[in-house]
Symmetry: C2
Subunit: 449 residues, 2 copies
């Protein structure tokens, strides 16, 4: 994208200069035009003008590349007739996503204005949740009966091709319209025209149920390196297909969710989004964190007489608890990733906890030794160093166990382990860290003074 | 995948029963066969038998679906002649990946045993780092001169199609072999056979440089919803193409890296992997963390006389510092995600820090008020509550600033912001948390006793 074209388009929109969309289509990709429309100084009025004034086929390409927020702004600005015209150039799964975000009344009116065959397909797509296979699928694919000859098939492909999203894979149906196989366009192109589709099809198709969660769907697509994944119902009728580009969007959304969840933010939040959304997503988790912070702090309160006799303990204890949190986060991130990729589960792999115990022992010994030596020198008391070493080993073993088991147990209950495991982890490492260290200090108190 | 077939195959391999690979290919997907070969009880000897005894075309499909580790185990077990035969059925990018992991001597011997045209292509692919566009690209695509007629093009497609990874997109070259456009197979199929490719091609191709980092490549593919992305050199010669399935693998790898980096683990680590790898990946970061923990602890040491006079401070201070860390992680995760998706950068968006300051103020006021009230009641001293409130607001504002700016600044220096930002963050929130809280306590000491 050249930034000169970008600036020019922005100025033309602001000054309402007529656009030569054919020319624009030549020099800018729809995704780049979307970037212009996403600029802060593009108002709703600008969008209204842009989407009312121009060629509807061109606008369909642009609208398809826009994100949910921009799509809904546009749809709210346009007349229904214009929306219907733009929709006529868009794939059904995209239209269903836009309709799904509209108020129910508006959605119904738009559906009623469409061709009956279109609105029927859309009503089916709208029946599935966005984050399921049914919500992701599109109805633009090529399907053929198995008894067609290759030459009949080719004629049909020529006719349907412009309307499909996927051309490399042709889905094969029996006369009951059940999915019985798939054929590769490569084979169709290079086979004797008198053979039938059945002769060259591969009967082994990987399919998914429309209710499958999008994260699992992404795992299937990745495992089998698919460019199109068919969705079938229990009768094995083909309902639609899911394409690789939609799976990439799913992967990004799921990744965003995981990273935000691990940071203690629930749901979607963009860095530049409204402050009230950020507050809603973050404050509840901070309050939960606060409750756990009080638990850890009360472990300290239990030992206030020990601390008042050896004040140095108050600064060393934060090192022991903090290092437990750090080591636990390491285990936690490896475990959460293993869960997301489907590589571990509690039932088969609980024994791996022993590896984490051993790691905690080794890391704890190394870190504890360094800390112990520094503490001994700094406060001129070797016993204080030994207490620190022992507490560090103990807390890092607990960190390993907690960091490994917490996400596995949360996942077992059907929740997202990324969302709350770090809260449980730090509760464990802070509380145990303070308790072990100050407890040991109490036992050896006469030697520490 | 049916688990009966899975068990049967496992038993057949263990008992060295001859396999009917044609039959096996019918009932199991290569990715599922790989799952069997990945089982713990499959030894190197089993692999050697499996890959020596069977049909090489079938084995090529299986080897292609295996991960790096299994591929390298197989290659180490096989005779060179067998490897070369299997390679002859595999795409070049996969072969290059396998060769790239071999010791240099073995790699050279294998290259020398291949057909000259194959080894030449592979040497080019091997010249690029794995994590660049050049390392990801494959040379199996369809390219045609622009002056061919549609009927000539179709004949050529029929001939080349079986050897390519991508068929939907045909790349168009001029007679200097420079990439000048692309054509959609749909259009070729439905156009008058006497027209030329040039008539129907789209001259606007999005291309990347072979040295582009894989994370950027993935962003380009996602932004423009591409199924194939051409890689060109400075002369605009087509070097290869990158396909969507390889991009999905990149996305998963990058995501794993981000999550592990955020948890303080450098590089790749699997939960079930060897303990020595885990130790190497984790201990260095714990030692860096330890250094920062000492910085925070020394902030406490500065106020030991204050703590010895009001011991309650030693437990409350951990709440103030801990909540700063929690609030900072929230901002950090949103900022890191924004950076990964290319949505923010330091130059244009540094002003967003004011949003984080405001959020810190609001969150800090809410959390500080709750904490302050509880502290006032628990210790029977309202001034202690006020000091807690003020310190909490101060620390949460610092957390917001640090959580936002640290990853942006690290990214600006060309490093991965996920890797070290949480260390800098907790250093800031712990040190400042202790300092502000204990500093305020020192000022108001007469009122707190």
């Amino acid at each position: 994208m050249e930034s000169q074209q970008y600036q020019e388009l922005l100025e033309k929109i602001k000054s309402r200069q007529p656009l030569d969309t054919e020319m624009l289509d030549e020099v800018m990709h729809p995704a780049d035009i979307v970037s212009v429309l996403d600029e802060d100084d593009i108002t709703d009025e600008d969008l209204k003008w842009f989407f009312s004034a121009n060629n509807k086929e061109f606008l369909a390409d642009v609208l398809e590349d826009a994100d949910d927020e921009l799509q809904s702004r546009v749809v709210h600005q346009l007349k229904y007739a214009d929306i219907i015209k733009i929709f006529s150039y868009m794939p059904k799964d995209e239209i269903a996503d836009i309709l799904g975000d509209l108020p129910i009344g508006q959605r119904k009116e738009l559906l009623n204005m469409m061709k009956l065959s279109d609105s029927r397909e859309l009503r089916v797509l709208l029946g599935y949740r966005d984050d399921t296979a049914g919500g992701l699928m599109t109805t633009e694919y090529i399907a053929m009966y198995q008894d067609l000859t290759i030459s009949q098939a080719l004629a049909k492909i020529r006719e349907i091709a412009p309307k499909t999203e996927i051309i490399g894979t042709i889905f094969v149906l029996n006369r009951k319209r059940q999915l019985v196989g798939w054929a590769d366009l490569r084979d169709i192109l290079s086979t004797d025209p008198d053979q039938t589709i059945e002769d060259i099809m591969d009967p082994h198709v990987i399919t998914v149920d429309p209710l499958m969660d999008q994260e699992e769907v992404a795992q299937v697509v990745r495992k089998y390196d698919l460019t199109a994944l068919p969705v079938v119902n229990r009768r094995h009728s083909l309902l639609g297909i899911i394409t690789a580009d939609d799976i990439m969007d799913v992967m990004v959304d799921e990744q965003t969710e995981d990273i935000l969840h691990m940071g203690g933010v629930s749901g979607q939040e963009e860095i530049g989004g409204p402050i009230i959304v950020s507050l809603k997503r973050r404050l509840p988790w901070l309050i939960i964190n606060l409750a756990t912070a009080f638990i850890a702090a009360s472990a300290i309160s239990m030992f206030s007489s020990v601390i008042s006799q050896v004040v140095a303990l108050s600064s060393i204890m934060t090192i022991v608890s903090g290092m437990g949190g750090n080591a636990g986060s390491q285990t936690l991130s490896v475990a959460i990733r293993g869960l997301t990729l489907g590589e571990i589960n509690l039932k088969d792999d609980w024994k791996l906890v022993f590896k984490e115990v051993l790691l905690g022992l080794l890391d704890g010994a190394a870190i504890g030794l360094i800390t112990g030596v520094i503490v001994s020198i700094r406060y001129g008391n070797a016993y204080l160093g030994v207490v620190t070493l022992l507490a560090m080993i103990g807390n890092l073993i607990i960190a390993g166990i907690a960091g490994y088991l917490i996400p596995l147990i949360i996942e077992k209950t059907g929740q997202d382990p990324a969302l709350s495991s770090s809260i449980f982890l730090t509760t464990a490492t802070d509380t145990c860290g303070f308790f072990i260290f100050l407890g040991l200090a109490q036992i050896f108190l006469p030697l520490l003074k």
